[in-house]
């Protein structure tokens, strides 16, 4: 067992310092400090590309309990237990690290995994105090200092993170008849899994690829989740505008960043939330049916309802703060949600939206 006793600090841009013990890599890193209140799913969260550029604070105090599963891949060459190939966070901040883990599925400890991926991590932090600060002052920049090693603050909103996490070339999954072009802005693997298990072929394309350039027919377009400020993805927005304008009536579905990009393409605006929604317990209501669902969320930006075009309507709303959680086109098969119906981590209540979308594709093809 490695005993961790190297001191490490999290320094926030307002000058406050939180001191603890390092249990990850010894490389200092910086990024935007955000908190997530989910109680399970650290292997999934850490590999979620949407966290690119962020230092993640987990409010649940006991982390590392069940270790890290094996890096095996399924028949589609997708990681079985993770949301992407690597850890995307800049650093991890927790209260109490379980030096020893226990699970039938575990292959290594969280600490070893973080070191392997060169990600720093601090335990022994009053994560509740830190969370309250972020809630009150808003998301802040921060840096992790280990022993005397330090680095500069950096603002991930200022750069195009999507470019960094998107695939570089077209990847195909499955060979079913129905084909969906998946615009990869940092797609979580479970989105791909959700389509595959519904017998859909996925053509995963880079974030700035225009689906209309594809030299083959396809049935629908999907825009994935991803990190950072949606305004950075200018080419994606342009491509989406063209797609919506085209008279092909192509079904389109967006999740998270995909929802924001679709909104921007439709002409409305987005804004940055004070401290975002990062949790597995966000209540959302479908305004049409009045049914409510618990959703998994991970986003810092939201759609401004005020500028929503006439042909669009709000689909879902957050019960807690009233923010827009999904929009849809009034006449055409275009839908998007801010939350994660694919879950992983999080509740699976809204996975039915994948079924609904596939029904839309079928209807559009008739």
């Amino acid at each position: 067992m490695t005993t961790h006793n190297t001191k490490a600090d999290l320094i926030l841009e307002d000058g406050s310092i939180f001191s603890g013990i390092s249990f990850g890599s010894q490389t200092p890193k910086s990024g935007e400090v955000v908190f997530n209140t989910g109680m399970v799913g650290y292997p999934e969260s850490l590999t979620d590309p949407s966290y690119k550029g962020q230092i993640l604070v987990l409010t649940y105090p006991l982390i590392g309990n069940y270790g890290i599963p094996s890096q095996t891949k399924d028949k589609h060459n997708i990681m079985e237990h993770f949301e992407s190939e690597k850890i995307h966070i800049q650093g991890l901040i927790i209260n109490d690290y379980s030096e020893k883990h226990s699970h039938w599925n575990a292959e290594k400890s969280l600490s070893d995994w973080l070191i392997e991926h060169n990600i720093p991590a601090i335990s022994g932090i009053d994560t509740r105090a830190l969370t309250k600060k972020l809630r009150e002052k808003g998301t802040m920049l921060g840096k992790i200092k280990i022993k005397d090693k330090e680095t500069e603050f950096y603002n991930p909103d200022k750069i195009n993170l999507v470019e960094k996490v998107s695939c570089k070339e077209i990847i195909r999954y499955g060979n079913s008849k129905t084909k969906i072009v998946l615009i990869d802005c940092g797609v979580k693997h479970n989105i791909i899994r959700c389509f595959l298990k519904r017998d859909i072929q996925i053509i995963r394309v880079p974030w700035d690829f225009d689906p209309q350039d594809l030299k083959e027919d396809f049935d629908a377009v999907f825009i994935s989740n991803g990190p950072g400020d949606p305004a950075q993805c200018k080419s994606t927005i342009k491509n989406l505008k063209n797609l919506i304008k085209s008279d092909k009536n192509i079904p389109i579905f967006g999740i998270c960043l995909g929802n924001q990009l679709l909104a921007l393409a439709s002409g409305t605006k987005t804004y940055k939330l004070k401290y975002g929604h990062r949790s597995q317990n966000q209540p959302c209501t479908d305004l049409k049916t009045n049914r409510s669902y618990i959703t998994s969320q991970n986003h810092g930006f939201a759609i401004n309802e005020k500028y929503l075009g006439k042909e669009w309507e709000v689909w879902f709303k957050n019960i807690n703060d009233g923010t827009v959680e999904g929009i849809r086109h009034k006449k055409r098969p275009i839908i998007s949600v801010q939350f994660h119906p694919e879950a992983n981590c999080g509740p699976t209540d809204t996975e039915y939206i994948f079924d609904d979308f596939i029904k839309m594709i079928e209807d559009a093809g008739k």
Binding site: F18, F35, T37, G38, M39, V40, G41, P43, E44, T59, Y60, P61, L62, N65, Y66, P69, N95, D96, S98, E99, K100, H101, S102, H103, W104, N105, D126, T127, R128, A129, T131, K132, R135, S279, Q280, N281, Q282, P283, T285, N290, R291, S292, I294, I319, N320, A343, N344, C345, G346, P347, T348, D349
Partner: protein, 1062 residues
């Protein structure tokens, strides 16, 4: 549901093993929810010591049995529009199902609010349940429902041993168990079929993880899971007997959400409306699972989940029952967010059950699928090490935490393999003996994650020894108390406290806010942790003075819901007096730990260390510790010595009452009589004392509440045998021996004084003669058979004691009276078990008056002329012997009851019948067995037996009893005892359910050999649920009662109809 204006709420009755104080909490919340909707609520609950049966709660309260007969009568009278069945445990649920099946609900057009009865039946009937889940492809353990022993044995053969058996419609796993072979199974089946006519034989899944989810659903199909929980002990130990942690710790996202999804799918399919609990077995080697059961009602787990998350499950369930939509309800903690959400915890919670198995001779200490525990504690913190150590101390069983205890096991392998209430300490010893985690895991199947964490605690011992200063904060983060550290460092607790305070090592106060800090919350629900760097709240010493009230800790035999009633009543009274209230308690089954009952709730240890921590932060006006029973009372002197201000009677005077020598000399000075006694340290001394006063003697250790290890000895031989047990209990303290006075009446004096003057008092009388613990005795108030002279003496003695000790607040004195002589046997300067009972009978709240007195407010003396009371109250005890295999179901000086009821009547007979029915007795229809060991008791029962014959009962007797009655020209029918090996035998008649009542009076000398058969009969009666009476006085009063009153004579009157006069 606009047409619902009046609702009937069924309570759970007396506390018993498997169904305890949590239903006061759930009923209380249901009433609050209904009141908010302006719905009139009628409550039926004979549990008089509950908050839900307080004034200002329900519109009408019936202290009547929760049985179809009485509930129908109440329905007929009150004509409610709806009925709530899911807030009163299994008792209410079963009663509701019966009312439904009998067509009573439809006859009176009463709507069942919340989960429909059909759904309840689907969850309770194992066969239907499995079928329902099969419909949606959800896995349940392979099981076969059987209706008789033969089928059950065949089913077991088919499934293969070991098998698990479960009875349908039973609370807390009653009549269930694991059978390794045919013989085990046969034994279990006898009992199981006596509770239920349907038994399920299942494959035994020992070693699987046990996981629970609490699910909430509204009638619009919005559905959430509020909390999940993981058992520390793997499957095989009833969840009520397990150490439980929330949320789950060893589940991955995939497992957590898979089970959550199944929970929601199942609950939707079953059609539950409101709250329910779903239990799983999860294979520790893959993701395979089984749904074990669904409880379609509020349960112990839901109370725990409520307290663990801050989500008011019962309140929300009540709102959903009347048709509200979940998203429309508010989260009461944030006030801004919705109740449709799933709490995110930024802390962990551990529950440990509290057992009292040592109180019962011959009861198996092994834990299994049946509940034996009588209460529980919950601790909150930010690491597992912290919460487990806190929780162990909260149990109040003289354990300092996971380590630093004196307990030693001879065979630890056996201890680990065969779980008892002490298993966790055996793990500590295994670490002492350098056993590996793998070795312990093999024996216990406890997930290694928990074992690693426990090992961390154990490792800290060495760190502390080697490097105290550097390890101090780490140790505190692992939940070490100052005392534990002092033990390791061989120094005093006080020195450790000084050391850590010098280094700034103090705990931080954190809020439970349901959202892990995501939204601002103004919650007053608090805990302390060393995993912190800032407080969540501000301690401002504004003008409003605050008062700390110490709660009663875990329910156990001797301290139960009645003390919670006292604490909550105090909090309400303190609030009324414009003070801020700060409650400290650690029992999740209580109303006092509802965060809306006080201004600040610290869900914390009732240890001196923690009370001092909170005191120093809050800087209150003072502490009230006379309401929560013996735990807080025991802190009085230490608080006082350390400069903490105690409100009410001076702690030095509390000590004068608690310390036997000091109290005795006080009595002597005042010329007050007491049974002769000595404090002795050797058996020789006792022999000498016995020569002087003669046997029987009463032996007891000092400073106990419920009479642990207290006993009456009738001879020198008995005395010698017993001494071992008594001395082992408290080696530091000598044993107190007193003369036991036979054939004496026992009397309770409950009162409130201010500055030594009595403001109000109540004298009640035991039905049974002295020798039965006051907590087990049947109590009558006002006392009907006491001479005026005796009453006057009692009052004057009490006045004298109150004055001498300058009492301010509640106090209780126990007297015995014989031949107009009155002697004091005990005095407690705190509230007693009977305060809620006498308060409700008198319709004057003694605790409210006591609180005023304690706060220094002038209170006028209350003059009540009890001669003008048109009613009488009887408090009867509820025993849980059916849970305690091997115990002789016989009340004695050791308290054994787990709960009580209080019923009203126009005379003692009416009140007695109502109260005994409330404790589960059925009135005899035809056949009664009388078996009495001694002629002196037979003489006393002669007239009563004649009366029974005249009433048309067939009287069966055992040989000695038959012969005695024959001599007195009373013909009865003989049944043979077991050892006679002849027919017709008592056992045959019992098994054939031919006996409706058994009156079995033992010899006063309990150790006599010839009593063995009677013990067997009594145990069999418990097993077969045959009512029995084991005390002569109670038997006689009962016989008189049934001769004078028939069921239809029992008045269906509410509390206000008795107490409010036109």
């Amino acid at each position: 549901m606009k047409n619902i204006k009046k609702v009937l709420l069924l309570g759970s009755g007396a506390l018993k093993i498997g169904q305890a104080g949590e239903f006061d909490y759930s009923g209380n919340q249901a009433i609050k929810a209904m009141k908010e909707e302006k719905i009139e609520i009628i409550l039926v609950n004979p549990n008089i010591a509950t908050i839900q049966t307080d004034k200002g709660m329900a519109s009408r309260i019936y202290f009547l049995p929760v049985t179809p007969y009485f509930v129908e009568k109440i329905i007929e009278k009150e004509r409610p529009d709806g009925i709530l069945l899911s807030f009163g445990g299994q008792t209410a649920l079963n009663c509701g199902v019966e009312l439904y099946k009998k067509g009573i609900l439809s006859k009176y057009k009463i709507k069942v609010l919340g989960t429909p009865v059909e759904t309840i039946i689907n969850t309770e009937d194992r066969d239907l349940f499995v079928k329902k889940l099969d419909e949606i492809g959800i896995k349940t353990p392979v099981g076969i429902a059987t209706k008789n022993t033969e089928d059950a044995l065949a089913a077991a053969e088919k499934i293969g041993y070991p098998v698990m058996i479960r009875s349908a419609f039973a609370l807390g796993g009653m009549g269930s168990g694991m059978a390794k072979n045919k013989r085990d199974l046969k034994n279990l089946l006898i009992k199981a079929f006596s509770y239920s006519n349907q038994i399920l034989i299942e494959k035994y899944l020992g070693g699987w993880k046990e996981i629970e989810y609490e699910v909430v659903r509204d009638e619009f199909d919005n559905c959430i899971t509020v909390c999940n929980m993981e058992n520390f002990d793997p499957l095989g130990i009833h969840t009520g007997e397990s150490i439980v942690i929330a949320p789950s710790q060893t589940l991955t996202n995939s497992e957590y959400h898979k089970l959550r999804e199944i929970a929601i799918k199942t609950i939707r399919h079953l059609g539950i409306i409101g709250e329910c609990n779903i239990q799983y077995a999860l294979n520790p080697e893959n993701e395979d699972y089984r749904v074990i059961e669904v409880n379609a009602r509020l349960s112990r787990s839901s109370a725990l989940a409520s307290k663990a998350t801050g989500y008011p499950l019962a309140f929300i369930a009540a709102k959903l029952a009347i048709g509200k939509a979940l998203p429309d309800l508010k989260n009461n903690i944030t006030k801004s967010t919705s109740a449709f959400f799933e709490p995110a915890l930024d802390y962990v919670v551990v529950k440990i059950p509290r057992w009292d198995l040592k109180k019962f001779k011959n009861v198996s200490k092994y834990l299994g699928s049946e509940m034996k525990s009588v209460g529980e504690v919950m601790s909150i913190g930010r690491s597992f090490e912290e919460v487990i150590q806190k929780a162990i101390r909260m149990l109040d069983i003289n354990m300092n935490g996971f380590i630093c205890n004196t307990i030693k096991f001879k065979d630890i392998e056996h201890e680990l393999k065969n779980p008892t209430d002490m298993r966790i300490y055996a793990i500590a010893q295994a670490f002492d003996e350098n056993k590996s985690i793998d070795w312990i895991y093999e024996k216990t199947m406890i997930d290694k994650w928990f074992l690693y964490k426990l090992k961390n605690i154990h490792n800290m011992k060495k760190s502390l020894k080697d490097n105290t200063i550097d390890s101090l904060l780490e140790a505190k983060k692992m939940g070490f108390s100052d005392t534990q550290i002092a033990i390791i460092k061989d120094t005093t607790t006080k020195k450790i406290r000084e050391l850590r305070c010098k280094h700034g090592i103090t705990p931080y106060v954190k809020q439970i806010d349901t959202l892990a800090g995501e939204f601002p919350a103004k919650t007053n629900y608090l805990y302390l942790t060393y995993h912190g760097t800032e407080h969540d709240i501000i301690f401002n010493n504004k003008e409003t003075p605050s008062v700390i009230i110490l709660g009663s800790g875990p329910y156990r035999i001797g301290s139960s819901v009645e003390f919670d009633w006292c604490c909550v009543t105090t909090a309400k009274a303190v609030k009324k007096m414009k003070h801020e209230t700060i409650m400290i308690n650690c029992n999740p089954e209580t109303v006092s730990t509802d965060y809306d009952e006080c201004d600040r709730l610290y869900f914390e240890e009732l240890s001196f260390e923690r009370v001092q921590d909170i005191y120093e932060l809050e800087n209150p006006k003072g502490i009230i510790l006379s309401m929560g029973g013996q735990i807080p009372n025991n802190l009085a002197l230490e608080c006082h010595m350390n400069g903490l201000n105690i409100l009410g009677t001076d702690p030095l005077n509390i000590d004068r009452a608690e310390d036997r020598n000091k109290f005795s000399s006080l009595l002597d000075n005042k010329g007050i009589m007491q049974p002769e006694w000595r404090e002795l340290t050797s058996t020789d001394q006792i022999r000498k004392f016995a020569k002087k006063v003669d046997y029987p003697l009463l032996i007891r250790p000092s400073y106990v509440l419920s009479g642990a290890a207290m006993n009456i000895v009738n001879s020198e031989k008995e005395m010698e045998r017993f001494m071992k047990e008594a001395i082992r209990i408290n080696p530091k303290h000598p044993v107190v021996i007193s003369k036991f006075i036979q054939n004496a009446k026992e009397i309770e004096f409950d009162a409130v004084a201010r500055n030594g003057k009595i403001i109000i008092y109540a004298i009640s009388e035991h039905v049974e003669n002295a020798g039965i613990h006051s907590g087990d005795a049947t109590m009558v108030f006002p006392a009907p058979r006491l001479y005026w002279e005796t009453q006057r003496k009692i009052r004057r003695i009490s006045e004298s004691i109150a004055e001498s000790l300058n009492i301010t607040g509640p106090f209780n004195i126990q007297f015995i009276a014989k031949d107009n002589e009155v002697m004091v046997i005990e005095c407690n300067l705190r509230a007693s078990r009977s305060f809620p009972f006498v308060s409700k009978v008198l319709n004057h709240n003694l605790i409210e008056l006591a609180t005023k007195a304690i706060l220094g407010i002038k209170v006028k003396k209350v003059g009540i002329d009890i001669n003008f009371l048109d009613h009488v109250g009887i408090k009867a005890s509820q025993f849980s012997f059916s849970r305690l295999k091997g115990a002789d179901p016989l009340p004695s000086v050791e308290m054994a009851s787990t709960g009580e009821v209080g019923c009203f009547g126009e005379d003692v007979f009416e009140a007695l019948i109502k109260s005994v029915i409330s404790t589960g007795m059925k009135l005899p229809e035809k056949n009664i067995l009388i078996s009495v060991s001694e002629d002196k008791n037979l003489y006393k029962l002669l007239d009563g037996t004649k009366m029974l014959k005249e009433m048309g009962y067939t009287i069966y007797t055992t040989a000695h009893t038959r012969d005695f009655f024959n001599k007195h020209h009373l013909k009865t029918t003989l049944l043979h005892k077991i050892r006679e090996k002849k027919t017709p035998s008592v056992i045959d008649y019992m098994l054939k359910k031919k006996l409706d009542l058994i009156i079995s009076i033992p010899k006063d000398n309990r150790t006599a050999k010839n009593d063995d058969d009677n013990v067997a009969i009594r145990q069999m009666a418990v097993t077969l649920s045959i009512p029995q009476i084991t005390n002569t006085q109670l038997a006689n009063m009962f016989i008189k009662a049934i001769s004078k009153k028939k069921m239809e004579d029992l008045k269906i009157k509410s509390w206000d109809e008795y107490t409010i006069k036109s």
